[in-house]
Structure formats: C-alpha cells, structure tokens
C-alpha cells in the first residue's frame, strides 16, 4: 500500500497543533506517508450547500492528485476533510451522470477508488504497536487511570453508508485507541452528538448551546478530558469552552486523539503542540505526572519490603 496524506486547511493554520501531534505520532509509529503535492481545499462546509458539483469536485481534485502521485490509500486527519473526500468518492460511484461530467470539471480523469482513512481507524490499526511502545517505557505509564470521554461528533460516523466507519450510534474504535494508550474510556451519552461544526464563527451562540451539553455530560460521567479527532470539534470545545463554563468550574481539556497516544508513548507536550490549546493542559499533565510518580514510589516501596 502507498499512503497519501491530505492535511487540509485547518491543520496548516488554526489547528496546526493537530498536524504537529499527528506527524509526531505517525513518525513514532513508523507509519509512512507522503503529503499530496499541491493539494487544495476540500470545500468543507461551504461548497456543498451552494453547489453539489463544487462540493464533489473540490475533494475529487485531491483524490485525483493522490492517485496520479501513486497512492492507493489516503489519510485525512481532519474529520471534515475525511467526510468530504469519502462523500465525493461515494457520490461519484453512485451517480453515473455526475461521474461522466466530473473529468471535464476537474481537468483530471477520475481516480480509481482509494481507501480513505480517518485518524481514528488509522491509529486503531496500529493499536498493538501503541501498546508495545507504552509497555516498553521505563517511566511509569503516564495515562494509567485517566478517564477520557471519546467524542466522535458527526463527520466520522455519518452517513455511515458513506464513511463505512464503525457504528453510527455506538462507535467504539476511539475507545480501542484510548485503551491502547493506557487510559480509561468512560461511558457517556454525547459521543455522536453535533458540536455545531462550522457555526463557530457565524453562529457562536448555537455552538455554545450545543458544546455546553457535551462538556457537561462528559464531566457528569467522570471524564477528566475529552478526546476529539476533528479540528472543528476541537475549536468548538477548546477555544469556545470559556463561554460554556460556569464560574468556578474547572475547564475540561479537549485533546486530540493523537495527543493522548503521543503522551502515552513518551512524546513531549512540546512535540505535540499542547501549549497551543486554549484550555490550559498544564494542570492535567501535572496531576498525571504526580500520580505516575506516586505509583512508581509505591511499587518501589513494595519491592524493597
């Protein structure tokens, strides 16, 4: 297999720490991939409501480039890009008229079907290697006992017919990755509820209303952090969290799934870009380090007695 990497616009800008974290983790897991040369925007949430053709053509250009550059698989860590790439490929397969006019629109011939990955299914395939790397560390396991709410949102799981990823109502792949990293996924109710997506800027009040329910439910089920796999979800739950949190309430860090894996296998917060998050991750990191330290001391005491 030859894996192409489609970063998308967010990972090069306002969510650059997701790219830092994704690249650091894939490097550590020895996942080989090449960034698609001259990739362009997938149109995200603004092309498809204006024109179905544009909503398919913008992602299809990138699939065509990936295939021309020799790839048969693509990973798009941004869930919105992932969804648009998968939707374009699905619609081109299902609608012969659309497929017939697309080469004329693109100026490229239609690519063969590629295997399109999101970051969660990619990491889940490497779960054994993550476990190995966690076990091989000399330091005590950093994430042991950390309670995490796995938040999928919309774009990874819906429409399931298009993404073919996990179960639309009760997915479990992210939990597999969280467990491989040594942390504990919590059972909660908001895993596939919408965070308000692209309304972060144009209709912030909706995002605050929806995000507040997600953060509150995670907290009520004992989570100490929320794991996400989408820059839009992350912006809404991280940058916008201040507006959702009542006075005196501790904010709940929203971490990319790659952040958790990275910390578990020994990458530094700096390599993962954690300081770029709006919700301060320092208190959580400090308490995890203190707990790991205490476990190590207790184990040493037991050994010597």
């Amino acid at each position: 297999m030859t894996l192409a990497y489609y970063p998308g616009c967010s990972l090069k800008g306002t969510s650059r720490e997701f790219e830092e974290s994704f690249l650091a983790v894939t490097r550590a897991l020895r996942i080989e991939m090449t960034e698609i040369d001259d990739w362009s925007c997938c149109g995200a949430s603004s092309a498809h409501p204006i024109s179905r053709d544009l909503g398919v053509a913008l992602p299809a250009r990138n699939l065509a480039l990936a295939a021309e550059q020799g790839a048969d698989e693509v990973v798009a860590p941004c869930a919105a890009c992932y969804n648009r790439l998968a939707t374009a490929q699905h619609e081109l397969g299902a609608d012969a008229d659309l497929a017939a006019r697309m080469p004329g629109i693109l100026g490229h011939s239609l690519p063969p079907a590629l295997h399109i990955h999101n970051v969660v299914d990619l990491l889940a395939a490497y779960a054994p290697r993550i476990e190995e790397l966690v076990a091989a560390r000399v330091d005590p396991p950093l994430l042991a006992g950390l309670r995490v709410a796995a938040y999928y949102g919309c774009l990874l799981v819906r429409p399931n017919e298009v993404t073919g990823f996990d179960d639309a109502e009760q997915p479990a792949t992210m939990e597999t990755v969280i467990s491989a990293a040594g942390a504990s996924p919590v059972a909660w109710n908001m895993a596939v509820e919408c965070c308000g997506g692209a309304f972060s800027i144009s209709r912030t009040q909706s995002v605050v209303r929806l995000g507040r329910r997600i953060v509150a439910d995670a907290r009520a089920h004992g989570a100490q952090a929320i794991a996400v796999a989408c820059p839009l979800c992350h912006t809404n739950l991280d940058l916008r969290q201040a507006a959702m949190t009542a006075r005196g309430e501790e904010p709940l860090p929203a971490l990319f799934i790659t952040d958790l894996v990275g910390l578990a296998i020994g990458l530094s917060p700096g390599e993962l870009g954690l300081a770029r998050h709006f919700v301060d991750t320092e208190p959580l990191l400090a308490s995890l380090a203190a707990e790991a330290e205490a476990t190590a001391t207790a184990a040493a005491a037991q050994e010597s007695s």
Binding site: T14, R16, A44, S45, D53, R158, A198, Q205, A242, A243
Partner: protein, 217 residues
C-alpha cells in the same frame, strides 16, 4: 446545477433541482424522527420534517425563503435515522443550491457572509487563507467590532499565518469554480437583518451572549 458547457440556464437548473427534491421528499411519511434528533431544531422556524412536507407538496415559495434551510449543519443525524430512507440532509442541500441559483436573499447574514468569504478565499488562493477569511467575514457580516475567532489568541499561539500559501494548480481550482457555475456574486446580496439573525440564539442556551468572545487566556 451546471455542466461545463454551461448549457443549462440557471432557471432551468432551479426547475430541475426542485423537481428532483420534490420526488425525493415524497418518500417521507412525517414521523418526525428527523426533527426529534436535529441539533438545530430549537432555532428553526421550519423543522426538518416540515421542510420535507412542504417540499413534497411543491410549496417551494415557503421552503426557499425559510432561514431554517441555512441553519442546517449537515450533521446527517436525520438522514442516518430516517426510517423511510428519505435523506433530509441531501434534500436541504439541494434546496439551498436552488435558493442560491434563484437569487434568494433570505439567508441569515452571518451565514451568507461565512460561506461567501470562505469560497472567495478558496477561489483566490486554492486553500482557505484564514487571515483573509477573517477580514472578509468581518466586512460582510458587518460584525466589524466583534472579535470573531479570538484573533489575538490565535496569533499568540502561532495559528494565524499572515500570508497565503501559493498553489501551483490555482488555475485548475478557479476553473473548477467556473465550470460548476459558482459565481463570485452568489450570495453577495444575501443576508437579512441581524435582529432576525440573533433570534435563534436564546432557546435553552442560557448565556448566548458570552459566546461571541470565546477566548480566555
């Protein structure tokens, strides 16, 4: 809707889109499950099952002017759960496309400004140039004084690039926009008064005003 030769006029495209959505919406038996799970239903005047009903009955004047169309997040919850295989998310997308082709103006201003600014930046540079997007969005939404995306916080964290990336295939991207019949002027006159825009914020939201700032740090 378009083809690259531009053979179909915009009004023909609207007629065709509406005929297609009408027959697609005819599968709906009005159980209301789509609206029950819709994250935006509390802010919509026409909930998704009503949009399906009016569309199936061909009452397009009511549907195309509904700002509810533009409040849909394409979260796909409705389409995933619909027991009849009606695809409300796709039908709403097609209705929005028809509304734009038809030159409708009833799009909430901030949402029209968002889509327009987003697509302008992509057409201009091939990727979403975020600094340009923030500037253009401010002008178009007339939210000149709001700190829309907490820009200072973004700059402090090194997240806002001052200059756009240069794409070699920019000509290809611009040609794609043109062949899809998407014009720079689409949505340009759209956007109704902010008062109506804001009306949706309050239900169940508690303190929606706090959302406009968003940043702490």
């Amino acid at each position: 809707m378009t083809n690259q030769s531009g053979a179909m006029s915009r009004s023909d495209a609207v007629v065709r889109l509406l005929a297609e959505t009408r027959s697609a919406a005819a599968r709906c038996y009005q159980c209301g499950k789509c609206s029950a799970g819709c994250p935006m239903v509390s802010e919509m005047t026409l909930p998704p099952h009503d949009i399906m009903r009016l569309t199936a009955h061909g009452r397009f004047a009511e549907v195309l002017s509904a700002d509810s169309l533009w409040l849909c997040l394409t979260c796909e919850t409705c389409s995933e759960r619909c027991p009849t295989g009606t695809d409300p998310a796709a039908i709403i997308d097609a209705l929005r496309e028809a509304a734009v082709l038809d030159g409708r103006r009833e799009v909430p201003r901030s949402i029209a400004a968002f889509h327009r600014s987003f697509l302008d930046q992509v057409r201009l540079t091939g990727r979403l140039y975020e600094a340009g997007f923030f500037a253009e969005y401010k002008l178009r939404s007339r939210a000149l004084l709001d700190d829309i995306g907490n820009a200072p916080g973004l700059v402090r964290r090194g997240k806002l690039h001052p200059l756009p990336h240069r794409l070699h295939g920019i000509g290809e991207v611009r040609a794609i926009f043109e062949r899809c019949g998407v014009r720079a002027s689409d949505l340009s006159g759209a956007g109704h008064a902010p008062a109506a825009d804001d009306a949706g914020g309050a239900p169940g939201g508690g303190d929606p005003g706090g959302g406009a700032e968003g940043g702490h740090a």
